[in-house]
């Protein structure tokens, strides 16, 4: 009676938290003019693979349909959205602002917990290439985390071309460059140092590559990098970061934003500004995103875009570690209506349940033939606050019993 590895059944308390968080986040998205879009859970592998790097292709969960086509469960939401907007919305005025909230699937076996299904909430701002668009999406990520209740977090912003520029400017064989890139992606700095020591690369550049993951801070990081970097691509990346950083200052968000030249995202489709969100409470990012100007053209439309996604499971984990009560709902009082068994009382019970529900209370009706002691036990274990008993000979009144104290009173239910 098992379910496949890496999947979960969510129990009511967990679902409550999840839905609460979903509401908080989607509210912000809507306020910023983003509209929700829903795409299929699975699609042709070929379509999804257009946005996937080699690792993601391996991690996709695939199967065959009846015609023998390869189908895959979506591993992320950006590619499906790029497909929809490029193939079905050519005539729509740009920019398009979309948000999504849905489950994605991966054989993420080597990551923490090995979860294969998780929920992502995110936005895409499609059809415009501007620093203001980059800044808007980052500001929205901050707003979305703030509104979720998280207090202690940072968004780190970097640029894909900072690293690309360094790699291009290095005078080394292609094979060696690939080794360097792979070592950096694998975060293996022991190997990286070894490769660099064999390579004919300037000491300053070696030092810079080894320091990359820690080049993080406010504006001084840009100055520090400008003094060591001489290639055009990296320098223009630094300029773009500075512009976006200054725009985020205009938003008044500088306390949440850091410049981080060491960000390297897992996805291959990024072309510009990239960013990730961190908290002290998790050892991995809670959200991430960036600019992808070439993805839509793989579906036939040239639509420069930017966006981000947050992992809801991760966000819930971070929220609960920061403050265990941060996702507790104030639930309305719960009632259980019982009645002595005859048609008259049953009708009276229905009426009183209806009236209580109208007041916004949660009411369940007894459907069995349980003794009062049993009902009381049930109510206690389910956290029901009051039991209501419909009695004969009291036309407009019902007996209300507080479960914890046993206190009884007669109340009118009309």
């Amino acid at each position: 009676m098992n379910i496949p590895e890496g999947l979960n059944d969510l129990f009511p308390e967990e679902v409550l938290k999840r839905r609460l968080l979903e509401n908080k986040i989607s509210q912000v998205f809507k306020e910023w003019g983003y509209q929700e879009i829903i795409t299929p859970t699975f699609e042709f592998y070929d379509m999804l693979a257009r946005g996937a790097g080699s690792i993601m292709k391996k991690e996709m969960i695939k199967f065959f349909d009846r015609e023998g086509n390869i189908i895959a469960l979506r591993p992320e939401m950006t590619t499906p959205l790029a497909r929809v907007t490029s193939t079905k919305m050519q005539q729509e005025p740009k920019p398009l602002r979309f948000y999504y909230m849905g489950n994605v699937f991966r054989y993420d076996d080597f990551k923490v917990g090995g979860q294969r299904e998780f929920c992502q909430a995110g936005v895409e701002l499609i059809g415009v290439n501007s620093k203001k668009a980059d800044a808007e999406v980052i500001a929205l990520a901050v707003e979305c985390l703030k509104n979720s209740g998280l207090k202690n977090f940072f968004i780190d912003i970097g640029h894909i071309n900072f690293f690309n520029g360094i790699m291009q400017s290095i005078k080394a064989e292609e094979k060696r460059k690939l080794e360097i890139k792979e070592a950096i992606l694998n975060k293996d700095f022991v190997l990286l140092e070894k490769i660099l020591s064999f390579s004919d690369i300037k000491d300053k550049e070696k030092e810079l590559i080894l320091k990359m993951p820690t080049l993080r801070g406010r504006e001084e990081v840009l100055e520090e990098a400008e003094n060591i970097i001489f290639n055009k691509l990296s320098l223009s990346a630094l300029k773009e970061i500075k512009k976006v950083y200054n725009l985020l200052r205009d938003y008044g968000l500088e306390e949440y934003v850091l410049i981080d030249l060491g960000i390297i995202r897992d996805f291959d489709y990024y072309t510009g500004i990239i960013f990730e969100g961190y908290t002290d409470y998790l050892g991995f990012p809670i959200c991430g995103g960036g600019r992808y100007d070439k993805l839509c053209s793989k579906f036939g439309e040239n639509l420069p875009s930017t966006g981000f996604a947050a992992g809801l499971e991760r966000l819930i984990m971070a929220l609960e570690r920061e403050n265990i009560n941060s996702l507790d709902l104030k639930k309305p009082d719960q009632y259980l209506v019982c009645y002595q068994n005859n048609k008259d009382n049953f009708r009276k019970a229905l009426k009183s349940a209806k009236n209580l529900r109208k007041k916004g209370l949660i009411v369940e009706l007894e459907v069995g033939k349980r003794e009062f002691a049993e009902v009381l036990n049930y109510a206690r274990s389910k956290g029901i606050k009051y039991i209501v008993i419909v009695v004969d000979n009291q036309p407009n009144k019902i007996k209300r019993i507080e479960v914890t104290s046993g206190k009884e009173e007669m109340i009118t239910y009309e």
Binding site: F110, K111, V112, D156, N186, K187, D188, F189, V190, L191, P213, T214, R216, D260, G262, Y278, D280, Y281, L282, G283, F284, P285, M317, E320, R321, I324
Partner: protein, 228 residues
Amino acid sequence: MSREINTNYLVIALPSGKLFKPSIRLFEKVGIDLKGGKEINRKLAFFDQEEEVKFVITRPKDNPTYIECGVADIGIVGEDVLLEEKKDVYKLLDLKFGKCKMVVAAPKEREQKKYYKNNGHRLKIATKYPRIAADYFKKKGIYVELIKLYGSVELAPQVGLADMIVDIVSTGRTLEENKLEIINEIIPLSAQLIVNRISYKTKHKRITRLLQDIKKFISLESDKIAEW
């Protein structure tokens, strides 16, 4: 799911087992007082208030998991564990102790030992490291059957469970006792210092300082450390 969060502390995960003592020695050499690890041995967590460092002890193979999740910032782990289970952590320093090597070993009496041939039937390899072994033989273009064992791998050829083994060797005594000999060295191994991907950003000043101290010590005493 609550945990004590104190961002002032640097949390270091030490592996139990044979890397435990040299790890303690290393941190004492760079000025973190662990009282020779006596106290730490009995408890699973230990504080050095002055340096604001907290230590936790993990099973050697679990060590990278603690780092990947971020419940500890820094860990020490044998390279074999990292090669066998890919984890999303920074590998920052070769600590030069705990030196050993991953090898292919076969019974001494085996003929044609260099050729991986076995009278036409597929070669059976017993190992605790199926991933490392699979990668190695795939690269060599040799088709083998892997048998995953959890210990006493050297027993497998003796009882006919496997033709050869892939295992770690440090002194070579165990191989000798079991009449096995090394026929290929796969990769040299040593203890590695790993760091959580976010801690390396958020606590990078402290981590870099510690790393520099360790690096300095290693470069000065590399001969001695190799003996640890």
